[in-house]
């Protein structure tokens, strides 16, 4: 029955290593660069881009230069940063939890970050201080990461970590709902709901400066686990026997995910499905080795978020569609299709 495998699966071995992966990384890097430029070019105000760039470089504070520096460039950069974080975290968590349905929200960090941001909304801090919102989000993610790390350091297993994440998600979700419930006026509630849907509109360079170092640190921590994720394909015992300390791996992943996703949610709200879908998109090209999918997943995530963010600005809907709505609209059918494909294959 299973002896003559289908020709697709028995294709001749490509050389070991990541030839396909490197090609993909190069292509995706080019795509992300192009999309960042595209994202800078697309907007509501008509701007003479070359002139704006010239003004910016020369240090002239003309209106086009201001639009570029205060609106377009931060928005494009954040799209790339948040997308990369979501894609990379999704790939790392799928590899670590050995589960194709894991996503950056599975540990409860996104929900906690959202709760933190909502709390600053609710407390009225957001109105008085422009960075209060992202700072609140980061604080929420930090609390969640601290709780998860306590658990992980005690050597609690993978399942314990997932269950803790589910618990944390529900708790943060319930508290967010409570904040909406007790909201002093309907406009505040509406504002919170809109913010939760995720958007990159009207973010400033301050947001970039705030989240970039946190994300870079998180990316470093997560990328450093690539080898261990490969070994974990063989199970936790074998990974340990290959010299990988699982507690250290767990701490790096939880901390890295909290830094990257927490600061991402803090500046952009919740953008769903990117982290879930992207690892599945790159897997056919880079193969099943989890470590080989990390960098491509991050880049593909960046491309996806940048593309979606360009799309919401090109669509005639006003006010523009929320980013989280668009990615989920694209992502949910994909997820169903994936499950369908898996069923028919077995």
């Amino acid at each position: 029955m299973n002896a003559p495998a289908s020709p697709i699966r028995t294709r001749e071995a490509r050389p070991l290593g990541t030839a396909g992966g490197r090609w993909l990384v190069a292509t995706l890097s080019g795509l992300v660069a192009a999309l960042i430029l595209g994202s800078i070019a697309v907007g509501y105000a008509t701007v003479d881009l070359p002139a704006a760039f010239a003004d910016l470089v020369a240090g002239r504070t003309s209106l086009p230069a201001l639009v570029l520096w205060e609106l377009r460039i931060p928005r494009a950069l954040l799209g790339g940063l948040v997308g990369f974080s979501l894609g990379l975290t999704g790939a790392v968590l799928q590899g670590y939890l050995r589960n194709p349905l894991a996503d950056p929200g599975v540990l409860g960090i996104s929900s906690a970050a959202a709760l933190g941001a909502v709390a600053t909304f609710y407390g009225g801090l957001a109105a008085s201080l422009s960075l209060a919102l992202p700072l609140g989000g980061i604080a929420g993610a930090a609390v969640a990461a601290f709780a998860l790390n306590l658990l992980a350091a005690r050597g609690s297993g993978t399942l314990g970590l997932i269950l803790a994440g589910v618990g944390l998600s529900s708790l943060a979700g319930a508290l967010t709902a409570l904040a909406l419930n007790l909201s002093p006026n309907p406009y505040a509630a509406l504002e919170i709901v809109f913010w939760l849907m995720g958007s990159l509109a009207d973010r400033s360079m301050d947001h970039v400066v705030l989240c970039l170092p946190l994300m870079a640190l998180g990316w470093g921590l997560m990328l450093s686990t690539g080898r261990a994720l490969d070994a974990l394909v063989l199970g936790e015992d074998t990974a340990t026997s290959l010299g990988f300390g699982l507690v250290s791996v767990r701490l790096r992943i939880v901390t890295g995910a909290a830094l990257a996703v927490g600061s991402g949610v803090a500046v952009s709200g919740a953008i769903g499905f990117v982290g879930l879908v992207v690892p599945h998109l790159v897997r056919p090209v880079v193969g099943g080795r989890p470590g080989a999918g990390l960098l491509p997943s991050g880049l593909a995530g960046a491309a996806l978020v940048l593309g979606a963010d360009i799309l919401v600005r090109l669509l005639p809907t006003r006010p523009e569609l929320k980013l989280g709505v668009v990615t989920a609209l694209v992502g949910a059918p994909f997820l169903v299709g994936l499950l369908w494909h898996d069923r028919t294959r077995r």
Binding site: N2, A3, A5, S6, R9, T10, R11, E12, A13, R14, L16, G17, G95, R98, P100, S224, R227, D230, A231, L232, V233, L234, G235, E236, D237, T238, T240, S241, L242, G243, F244, G245, R283, G287, G288, R289, P290
Partner: protein, 268 residues
């Protein structure tokens, strides 16, 4: 390298899984670990690999505490093959075998020539070269078992600890695998293999350790360890013995006749 477990005791909760077990792994020796299910074989293997810290006793590697050895060094010197479900990602068989080279590689370094050679040797020895481009999801149970054995061989360690490496193999492949493990031992590697097949254990192993309820019930050359009395006492079986090619063999034949309780209930 010589690994010695001294008075190893491991508890899971209040249950003693290993009770003061002593065991030495010599270079160049194929050591068979047999015993009924739940006797503590896998736990003993994990303890010898340094994965389960014993509650009492210690594991020495060349006279030094194994627990004090850096994980990377231990990973290069002791290879393990455990029974674990694969993650289900579509890795190529060759990529799985290449995972055995992880302890030898620099962080972020690529596979070196020596790594490729080791992968080639391991896949050649386990007759899996023709599977190299096949995805894990398209391997049969026996093929996957041999690929995983190749993965463990690719480490090229001084000690190999294997938990039921022939469980999913057909009779011909099982004979091949046992012959391979013996060849490996003749080459100087210390090999410990957990087996349920007493016939193959007696035929191929240099030394047998019989584990029963966390204790060593018998130890020695197959003829010394697997006596009728031991087999009756530990496994509740009677064996048929004979000679072939000048070697003694044994085949499990019937449950031991029991004066008191029915066989299924007696052991619990």
């Amino acid at each position: 390298m010589r690994i010695v477990g001294q008075t190893l005791t491991v508890r899971y909760g209040s249950r003693k899984v290993l009770d003061r077990v002593g065991l030495a792994i010599e270079p160049g020796e194929l050591l068979g670990l047999v015993g009924p299910n739940g006797a503590g074989k896998t736990t003993l293997l994990r303890a010898l690999a340094g994965l389960t810290p014993p509650d009492a006793g210690r594991v020495l590697a060349d006279g030094h505490d194994l627990a004090a050895m850096p994980a990377e060094t231990r990973a290069r010197r002791v290879a393990c093959l455990f029974q674990a479900p694969m993650a289900g990602w579509p890795l190529l068989a060759e990529e799985i075998v290449a995972l055995g080279r992880l302890p030898h590689r620099h962080p972020f370094g690529r596979l070196a020539q020596a790594d490729h050679a080791a992968i080639e040797r391991a896949m050649g020895a386990t007759d899996t070269l023709h599977l190299r481009g096949r995805r894990d999801t398209a391997l049969s149970a026996g093929e996957r078992m041999r690929v995983l054995l190749a993965r463990a061989l690719a480490v090229e360690a001084e000690i190999l600890l294997a938990d039921e490496p022939i469980a999913a193999l057909d009779p011909g492949q099982a004979l091949d695998a046992m012959a391979l493990l013996r060849r490996l031992a003749r080459g100087g590697t210390g090999v410990v293999v957990v087996l349920h097949d007493l016939t193959l254990a007696a035929r191929f192993c240099d030394r047998i350790v019989v584990l029963d309820r966390g204790c060593v019930a018998a130890e020695g050359a197959p003829a010394v360890a697997l006596t009728d009395a031991v087999l009756r006492d530990v496994f509740d079986i009677e064996v048929v013995r004979g000679h072939a090619d000048g070697d003694a063999y044994l085949v499990p034949w019937v449950r031991s006749p029991l004066p008191h309780a029915p066989p299924m209930e007696r052991r619990r």
